[in-house]
Amino acid sequence: MSFARKLNSLLLPFSILSWLGLLACALLYAHPTLFGQAVALPGWLLLLLQAIFTTAVFLQERVVSDRLRGLDFIGLLRRLVLGPGLLATACVGLHLLQQLIRQNLANTSSLAFTAIYTVNVGLFVVLLARTTYVWRSLVLFRSSARLRKLWNWFEVLLGVTLLLRLFTWSPPFGLGTALLGVLAAFGAYISSHQKWVAYLSRRQKLEAVLLQLAVILSMAVFVFYFLHTSQGPQLLAPGTQHDFLILNAFSASFFAIMGLLVTFFNLPTAGVFEQKREEILSLQRLTQLIQRGQNAEEVYRMFFDSAIQTVEADAAWLELDSTEDEYVGQHYHIAPEQALAIRHLLTDYNLGHIEYLNNDLPNSSGFRNLELPFGSLIVMPLRSSKRQYGSLYMLKSSTQGFDRENQSILQTFASQTVLSIENLQLVQASLDTQRVQDELKIASAVQDSLIPKNLPIDNWFEISSHALAATEVGGDFYDFLHLPGRRLAVLIGDVSGKGVTAAFHVAQMKGIFHALMQENPLARNEREKFPVPSKFMAQANNALARCLEKAAFITASLYIIDYEHGGFVFARAGHCHTLYYHSIKEEVSYFRTAGLGLGIIRHDGYEKYIKNQFYDYNPGDVMVIYTDGIVEARGADQEEYGEERLQQMLERTYYLDADQIKEQILADLNEFSRGQPMHDDQTLLVIKFKASQPEPSL
């Protein structure tokens, strides 16, 4: 690889050297007595040097990496014209100079003529090489590997033919003519590949035609020059040298002529190509807007502008149905009241909001009456399967103004627009959801802080608790409060419904609990200092009556445990029954007391629905309090866990620690509802009264 590159870098000095050799030989050939004594140079030396020079220049041009930059065909052609164009001018200039010299200085003319001739040969070879490889770039643009291979063969064939021509050896039996014929057919086939022409706009095609003409013209200048000098009086080079150059020129201009023809005949289709390109570009712009996540207004604007540009409408307006967007559409070359008039007319014909094309408006009497200068109308609704966003109305002054292609491209635009609008809505929706979720997380954290972290500890009892919310924020609650005189208040409850509303009421219930469980300074006796559970429920119901929504209610149970006297009192407001293990009777049962939920009736009559239950506990007794999320948990066959199963669990575990009892119940519950979604919050408290009271350490 590096060797080849090194060889390539040697090509330039080599071609310069060979040209200098050619110059020296040409001078000696024309003036054998230049250096005093006659030197008779053979003609073939001159031809050989020219062949070497030509080969070097062609190889040098060949190894130049692809000249085509992107799709800049015109730039490529322009560079070609600037090079050969300048060269042709230089050639003509030199020729004129030489004529001038010949007239004034007869002595030196012959020498100068030869020098200029050799310079022109050099320039022409460079031009030919450059032209040939520029055409290679164009013909091989986006070509198949097969065509590339064919081109290589073509080059070899061309080179052989030219060299044969240079050494005046013609193959026998008309093989030379056949070879030329094959070469011409080959060249015609290869140069019919002109894909690049399709990528030009109309203006570019015109420019390409002119540039190709210029190339051919500069070739013609050279050809004319060589023809002229070959017939001139001072023929100073072997005749075959001219033949070689001219044949070479024809093969190079062959491509230019083919390209010219293809471009020329493609001129009329340029408009169509351009329109297609414009449509694709518009679609691309619309698509890019989606990815950039711009607002709906920008998408509509883009759609409107692209549609007008693509269809070349004379007037248009965009009407949007929704009022939620600030953007209400826009008008182009039409007054809003005119637009409204057309719109009313369409509605009268029952054509509002459907895809509609009328290429002969003057034929409609209704439209004629509007006296508007339009001949064609197309209506394109913007709609998805879910809803209609609006409609685009486009007008042209000529009749038969819109064709099927216009209609289909507008359909594509419209669906693309709807897609981007809905995409934007989705993005917005997901942002909103994210925000709500973030807020829920905060609510969840707040609620978590409301759950008592430190369970009351005393050597008279053990408490173990478990709480699990089905959603971010739950409707279950429990709380403890130490009251004076070795008493403990335990509250458990459940707010109907779920989510944030329920969570608010949970916080409210906790507030009520702490407010009502304050010592009453006006109490006349010990009993009235703190409300008994039924009184508490009545007051809580009263407090909730005004703020709980109509269909909402709260269930709760309040226990006040007096561990100095070994008893407790509780009231149940619609909450789950308390499960209890009586150590004396060695029996597990529910306290089935009556009690109405909070917020169900909202007047003073509430208290009579609540009963207080007093019980003197014994050491070893176990109290299990819970919410309905426990007993209503569903199993595989949609069966509920149920009070009975819970009772059986306590019958099996009553002798354990409160913690262990809780764990066993939860393990059984999880086993029961394995694989089922959790429907409701679950709260479970286990209180075990201790077997004995140790002596105070004081």
């Binding site: 459940d494 407001a573 109405l596 169900i600 509920e640």
Partner: protein, 109 residues
């Protein structure tokens, strides 16, 4: 949840079929919210096929309870399954609402 209506003179019977949860209770609420429902003397709720009632479902009945009472319309539940009845009982609704075993008793009230 499927709700079927049967109307005789002065009596409207709503038969509930399925689970009365948060989503289906909205449908029931719409039914009970109708103004003309108060033209009846009795509204009977047939709970034979009611398999489950959630707190939202209970909330619907609770929220209409006062309205029915004020209008003098009797709300009577009958054919209630054991577990559904248990839910009513735990919440204390059996003391507020009329729940009877059979349709015959419901019509007799």
């Amino acid at each position: 949840m499927k709700i079927t209506q049967q109307s005789t003179e002065n009596t409207l019977t709503l038969s509930l079929d399925g689970e009365l949860d948060a989503s289906s209770s909205v449908v029931l609420d719409t039914e009970l919210n109708k103004a003309e429902i108060l033209d009846n003397q009795k509204v009977l709720i047939d709970c034979r096929r009611l398999n489950y009632i959630s707190s939202a479902g209970l909330g619907v009945f609770i929220s209409h309870l006062q309205r029915f009472q004020d209008a003098g319309v009797k709300l009577v539940f009958f054919n209630m399954q054991e577990k559904v009845h248990n839910v009513f009982e735990i919440l204390g609704l059996d003391s507020l609402m009329t729940i009877v075993p059979s349709e015959a008793e419901a019509t007799a009230i």
